[in-house]
Symmetry: C2
Subunit: 251 residues, 2 copies
Amino acid sequence: MHHITKKIGSELNPNVSVDCVIFGFDLEQLTVLLIDRGEIPSGSRPRMALPGNLIYDNENLDQAANRVLAELTGLENIYLEQVGAFGDPDRIHKESDREWLKTIRAEPEARVITVAYFSLVQMAHYKPQASSFAKNADWIPVNQISELAFDHFEILQEAKEKLKQKIKIQPIGFNLLPEKFTLSQLHRLYESILDKPLDKRNFRRKIQKLDILSSLREKQKGVPHKPSLLYEFNEEKYQELTQTGFDNFGF
Amino acid sequence: MHHITKKIGSELNPNVSVDCVIFGFDLEQLTVLLIDRGEIPSGSRPRMALPGNLIYDNENLDQAANRVLAELTGLENIYLEQVGAFGDPDRIHKESDREWLKTIRAEPEARVITVAYFSLVQMAHYKPQASSFAKNADWIPVNQISELAFDHFEILQEAKEKLKQKIKIQPIGFNLLPEKFTLSQLHRLYESILDKPLDKRNFRRKIQKLDILSSLREKQKGVPHKPSLLYEFNEEKYQELTQTGFDNFGF
DNA sequence: TGGCATAGTGTAAAATTGACACAAAGCTCT
DNA sequence: AGAGCTTTGTGTCAATTTTACACTATGCCA
């Protein structure tokens, strides 16, 4: 059951909701945080859905998205970007969906427009727990997802596309990695977001030429092979770079 | 006064509107179709605004945007793309704005979320006329716009940015030009969208290498200088190109 | 100590970019 | 008819970037 922080002097807007595509990276592939709606009354509708909720009349859209994210994961100050608004009148067409909506939302009958966001989090920062009040949430690899409740699958597709475009322009991928990471992990991350293989040497050359990574004098520990050097993202260097009008990472 | 096509069996949704950034190109610079709200009751609020309207409960967002566009210009089947949703609770904060809203919208008091679109039209296809029922609309060069009603200026900025990014990925600029155009006009168009000068020869080389233009055996007439060859956009060639996964026009 | 897995590295050919200047065509004006 | 104006259209060279490609180094494990 969602925990809704009812705000004093505010009302839920029954017509507008926010849904979040929360991306993670398990160092192998891109994942998304989905909630399991459990057994659905009538029939075999998709059980998984994006986390989301109606907005309050006194918060703006970004705030609402941050709230949804914080209510589910407890995380704050997370990279968040709007994907767009989705609003087919028949978005919620299944009787069973309506039933379920009653459990988390007011007025399941109303036509709802949803504003989708995507966010990038370090998977390690949120470990879903069955016992959590944030109901049954779980990290699911994106390419294992073939259906979702409502129009959430469509939203996911657009979020992926937006992320793909965005990462060609800004190095936002670091938000998905631990502070310290290896070039191979970064490489793998780019491959899974862009959904195509990238030549190892060419990738390393290009990323290093950008000069936005700080090499640490530290190696991986406990891996059953040659340990890799660890790097971290250098915010200052990146600022310098963008100051020059640079906006093309060209992958 | 807006002409609202009341649809049978449908209701206006008082919480959600659509606003359109309608781009044109006067062969010199990028322009936007704005409506003049006329004398504003109290004080000197910006008079110009983006065309927009509330949505009906039985139409989806794209339909609503197309409707707004058609109601104002009579044009259909126009390139249209969502910019995003805008929804600060205090979006409509001025008393005079509320007054004006009453003249075109139901429930001006409600908190309204707006979904912004941008569209690309051939300026020649819509000539604003003072006598038109579409009130006082006019093409205004984008870089002459410094303020707009509500949060419309912010919306315009984002629409420009979106267009800028999009044109690097897809050759949508042709929607702003007449069927037959010169390379100089196309050149000028890219410069005004990207907001930076492009070398003439390099631009021509690059655009021609894409091989998505058909050269016509036809020249400009009646220009007081060497007449240019005319070209048209070749949809089939472009399809071939995108089939190969090409998505980088690299300007 | 040998085997396994991944890290890390260089080069050469091809393609792309960026900088740059002048002759050609048609109109207008006298 | 000719001079002058305005914009079109064109090529090259150097620098940079991209692509394709394979072997050695390191540390763990058995």
